[in-house]
Symmetry: C2
Subunit: 109 residues, 2 copies
Amino acid sequence: MEEAKGVVKHVVVAKFEDDVSPQKMVELIKGFANLVNLVPTMKSFHWGKHVSAENMNEGFTHVFESTFESTEGLAEYVAHPAHLQFANLFLSHADKLIAVDYKPTIVHL
Amino acid sequence: MEEAKGVVKHVVVAKFEDDVSPQKMVELIKGFANLVNLVPTMKSFHWGKHVSAENMNEGFTHVFESTFESTEGLAEYVAHPAHLQFANLFLSHADKLIAVDYKPTIVHL
């Protein structure tokens, strides 16, 4: 099972508080995306609403995926003032949130 | 906010039961990966162990990411006998599991 060359994905799965307006959601999503411009080690950002197929999402409604070149780069992001400031804002509007980090690995069968 | 051209990512975040051996984990991960060979609409599979940066993973330890060409393709996967059989096996070894599906979308700032 071969690890991808150092790339680390940071996946946030979240549900916003019920009182967060659609406009506020757009603002928060843009704020998240803008971290790419503020944190040099954050290389890309994608997001999407949960589109139901199975019913295994446990109430989570949004996915946010960022890519970093290395675990060191991810650690820099986590400690970066721009991230910390945004994370405080984002978390104040999140009903629940999970963040997991992994190196995408291919399985050779 | 522009949606990627139909691609759907299926992200499973899980924690195995404490009594699942490392060998059994490898077997389950290979079984998950092998669905690419059994379900035509499943286009790729990556996985990784959670590598801690923040402490926001709520006890989840593994990420599994599959890619589909469309929501229809994902729906075919969800209903496919090979997936259903594997999902039963996998869930019997999972302490907890969340599955979310999303179309990766880029934010134009």
